[in-house]
């Protein structure tokens, strides 16, 4: 997951606290020493207790699928080996919008292609890219003057009202009435379903 390292516009530096909470990583910030929970992005101990970092859009996918979507990407200058133990098939996409969190299991997502939902009052869509099922994205369904309802039709991500076609991973308008608008990506991350239940006991799970 990716968080914005800013509190009230001021950059903060975080390190690894070396402690687990809820079996997940914790951080410490270098200026106040407060301790943060990774999955919540929230300070749980110390002077900043209760503060939250903004979660940013990111994705977990294969190197091949990421390169295809972002040919300009740079790569962390390290070795990588075959990924062992983590497979998208075992995970869920988590959307945490503060007031409400929801998770969407990857295998049934692949079956339907897109799920239109409302989380914390925000119309969202969770989308699997038909061009590569290793790619997923979460979008806001709100545009400037419309709220779209998305469907996967013949391998295309289509707004059922206007007929507009959007790129299923980047959200860019491709053709149709609203083609000059883009879907905005929302922050989301992947987690094992059992961990979602630990950190978001009130959270909603799709399919139910």
């Amino acid at each position: 997951m990716v968080h914005r390292r800013e509190i009230d516009g001021e950059e903060i530096v975080l390190g690894n606290q070396g402690a687990l909470w809820g079996n997940a990583m914790t951080w410490w910030d270098h200026d106040t020493g407060s301790i943060w929970s990774q999955p919540l992005g929230e300070a749980i101990l110390g002077p900043r207790k209760g503060a939250r970092l903004e979660l940013m859009p990111s994705t977990l996918t294969t190197w091949e699928a990421w390169q295809a979507a972002h040919p300009e990407t740079v790569a962390l200058a390290v070795h990588a080996s075959a990924t062992d133990g983590f497979h998208l098939e075992n995970m869920a996409v988590v959307v945490d919008l503060g007031a409400e969190a929801a998770s969407y299991r990857i295998p049934p997502l692949r079956d339907v292609g897109v799920v239109n939902d409302v989380v914390a009052g925000i119309e969202i869509a969770v989308v699997i890219d038909p061009g590569d099922p290793q790619r997923w994205a979460v979008f806001s369904r709100r545009l400037d003057d419309a709220t779209v309802n998305l469907a996967m039709t013949d391998g295309l991500l289509v707004d059922t009202t206007s007929g507009t076609v959007f790129d299923p991973f980047l959200g860019l308008g491709r053709s149709g009435l609203l083609a000059d608008e883009d879907l905005n990506k929302l922050p989301a991350f992947t987690a094992f379903p059992s961990d979602f239940e630990t950190f978001f006991p009130e959270g909603r799970t799709w399919p139910g």
Partner: protein, 126 residues
Amino acid sequence: MAAVAIGIAATVAIAVVVGFAVSVQSEQTSDTSVAATERPIPSDVYDPVRAGEEPPPGFRQLLGRDQIAPVYNPVYVASDEVDWPSESLVLGVAGTKTAKAYPITHLNQREMVIDTLDGTPILASW
């Protein structure tokens, strides 16, 4: 979430994790583990646990701060300069100008990358 498994792994295989990071460093001098030591870790920073603040239930202090060293100064290369397996998983983040990829196998060892994206300070974690 992924960090859960990492955390558990860290409890049973600290030496393995640390040892592997060292071996990676020696294999490839451009590895960001080299840069991790460049940022002096402030030593006098408040620690709520040591100060006696009551941690929430289930909180377990297992290692020291930064004993699993975050990547504080990440170094990047063009995508055609790495030989990552095409099916290996990456954490990907894209800004208006820049897209970055972090391989999961490296995040498994280092867990955190203190980074920026188009000038915005970010933290990539796993």
